[in-house]
């Protein structure tokens, strides 16, 4: 009897402590002499950042760890001041920025396409117009042999196969770009669901991070979802041509994303470039940002740490780093955006003094 009770107690303790043990904090404060930076956020820009930071380490010896946590968790980490900067594909709204403990600045690092990726055996390419795209993600078109889908894809033999929508389960800048676009093209979406980093999805299933969604799509016949271009490319997942505002079906290429980013850029770089009116623009494109505090002297950070942070971000705007972006299917920044970014970086201070000359 006693044995049972002891076992019971042990198991009770075990089961009650078990729920929710995942993910580690990303703050790694190492020795002062060797500068290392930590950052977290966007999985959409993850492949670019990981490669660029590694290159930067080879060049300068400054180590940067980047956690693929999703934009939402990245912003949260910046707010909690456990990272030096965060990556996000959604800029902070005025209300969100006011909610941060100190003023922040946004530095656009590149732009990219959100692919509509799908997995239907035997079909490599489909076309989607605004109405069909909205209907699929609203759960109104539920089978691949739907008449509306067939009508805009003459010649494609769709099987009788249920559509499984895959979306993000965590707070995501990719979701933000996608839902921003959907709200622009569908009134029903705008009224029912809206724009956000996480949404009240009417249909489908959630997976964590761009890698999670990409993995689910590639292993699930009949699925469709939205992911960063590089993930579709790396996992060889088929993607759709999406009808843009000018009425052309456009593939998510670097040129098509660059075309979408040619519009005016405000001085704080906070702009969405979805549903561009340019005739050759891919409509679900968006900038991705690095967000950091304007005043870098906080939490006892050293001047060296602050300098390393700003210099790294400055280097990300260099042709060398932008070339890496291009290799990974992101669109490099237009010159005028680089100039705006540099102007923003010059406003970043340490104890009130600008860090960059």
């Amino acid at each position: 009897m006693k044995k049972i009770l002891i076992l019971l107690a042990v198991v009770t303790a075990f089961t009650s402590c078990k729920s929710g043990s995942k993910k580690k904090g990303t703050d790694e404060k190492s020795a002062k002499t060797e500068i290392s930076l930590s950052a977290a956020g966007s999985t959409f820009a993850g492949p670019f950042y990981k490669t660029a930071f590694k290159k930067y380490f080879d060049l300068t010896g400054v180590q940067t760890s980047y956690g693929l946590t999703g934009s939402g968790a990245g912003i949260r980490s910046l707010k909690d001041r456990v990272v030096d900067f965060c990556g996000s594909d959604a800029f902070l709204s005025d209300a969100e920025a006011a909610n941060m403990p100190a003023p922040v600045v946004h530095v656009a690092t590149c732009s990219g396409a959100v692919d509509i990726a799908f997995n239907v055996p035997g079909i490599d390419s489909i076309k989607l117009d605004q109405e069909v795209l909205a209907d699929i993600f609203l759960g109104k078109i539920t089978n691949w042999n739907d008449a509306k889908l067939k009508a805009i894809n003459p010649g494609v033999k769709f099987p009788d196969l249920a559509i499984s929508v895959v979306h993000r389960s965590d707070g995501s800048g990719t979701t933000f770009i996608f839902s921003d676009y959907m709200s622009k093209i569908s009134k029903e979406w705008k009224d029912q669901i809206g724009v956000g980093k996480s949404l009240n999805w009417p249909t489908g299933m959630g997976a964590k991070g761009n890698p999670g969604v990409a993995g689910t799509i590639s292993s699930t016949v009949g699925s469709i979802g939205y992911i960063g271009s590089d993930y579709a490319f790396a996992q060889k997942i088929s993607f759709a041509l999406v009808k843009n505002a000018a009425g052309n079906y456009i593939a998510p290429t670097i040129a098509a994303v660059s075309a979408a980013g040619k519009g005016d850029m405000p001085a704080d770089t906070r702009i969405m470039e979805t549903n561009s009116t340019a005739p050759d623009a891919y409509p679900i494109s968006g900038f991705t940002w690095i967000i950091l505090y304007k005043e870098q002297a906080y939490n006892g950070r050293s001047l060296d740490q602050a300098q390393a942070t700003v210099k790294l971000i400055d280097w990300m705007l260099d042709p060398a780093a932008q070339g890496i972006a291009k290799e990974l299917k992101y669109a490099p920044l237009p010159d005028k955006v680089v100039q705006i970014d540099k102007a923003i970086l010059r406003t970043v201070t340490y104890n009130g003094k600008p860090i960059l000359k």
């Binding site: 009770t12 993910k23 499984s164």
Partner: protein, 284 residues
């Protein structure tokens, strides 16, 4: 009392007191964190099926996750009981003290040592395609798939305790039954089960409690759709899984709602375990 005795006493006292403080602190911080959510939504928080984290339209309800947790756990228990019961009898009665029984019981215990993420991987890459192949669900994710994985995960908990209890049934009783001409089946259902029922039931309740809180494997297989599942093969989400998925970016009301879900899970698990203890007391 000599000195070393005193030191031991204080040491033990401090140790157990510390655990009490930690447990109390957990409850305190859970309740404190959950207050804003309950303040905003009231009891409606528990019954509402709406989980909308979109900025500007925030509204949170725990029902989809309570439903998902209860359905997957009950399903897991129902699937695991026949297997656990047979294994217990095999190990503790039919093949008691034979090498094959000890191999089997070691294997079952081994199941308990496999990390949750490994079950998740196996479920994702092996079980899920199988479910899709059978045509049970178009994407293979969902309540049923999670239930099966959970069932396998909780079998060691359901068997280990039952084994010990069944072994403890006095031999005299069994021999008496045999001498009256009872068949093996009659001995099992008329002597062993009635004698061992408290332990057997308690072990199933413990296994159920374990299923309630399981996180990682379920997150990978349930589909993470924040709605009440319409059928066994529909996608859904559980309390532990929604917390794991969304705590990273959560803030303000959303964070409070997640903590409130944590508190509800804590209460449900505590109730289940208390019920288990009560049943043991009642039956033994």
């Amino acid at each position: 009392m000599n000195n070393s005795d005193k030191i031991t006493k204080y040491f033990l006292f401090a140790g157990s007191f510390l655990i009490l403080i930690v447990a109390g602190g957990m409850v305190f911080s859970l309740v404190g964190g959950a207050i804003p959510a309950f303040h905003k939504f009231g009891w409606h928080f528990i019954t509402s099926t709406n989980w909308n984290p979109t900025e500007g339209r925030e509204s949170y309800g725990a029902m989809p996750f309570i439903a998902g947790t209860m359905i997957t756990s009950v399903l897991a228990l129902l699937i695991s009981i026949p297997m656990a019961f047979s294994t217990s009898l095999f190990v503790s009665e039919y093949f008691r003290k034979t090498p094959v029984a000890s191999v089997l019981s070691t294997l079952v215990d081994l199941l308990a040592g496999i990390p949750s993420i490994v079950y998740g991987l196996w479920g994702f890459y092996t079980l899920r395609p199988f479910i899709m192949h059978l045509g049970l669900s178009p994407q293979g994710f969902g309540v049923f798939t999670s239930g099966i994985i959970l069932a396998i995960m909780i079998i060691p908990y359901a068997t280990s305790l039952s084994n010990e209890i069944i072994v403890m049934v006095p031999n005299e009783l069994k021999e008496a039954a045999y001498s009256l001409g009872a068949t093996r089946m009659e001995v099992i259902f008329n002597v062993i089960v009635p004698n061992a029922r408290s332990g057997i039931v308690a072990s199933y309740i413990l296994a159920f409690g374990r299923a309630l809180g399981e996180t990682m494997a379920v997150t990978m297989l349930i589909g993470n759709a924040n709605k009440v599942p319409h059928s066994l093969f529909d996608t859904g989400n559980t309390m532990a899984s929604v917390i794991a998925n969304q705590f990273g970016e959560a803030d303000g009301l959303k964070l409070s709602s997640l903590i409130a879900i944590g508190l509800l899970l804590f209460i449900i698990t505590a109730l289940v375990n208390t019920a288990g203890k009560f049943i043991i007391k009642k039956l033994s």
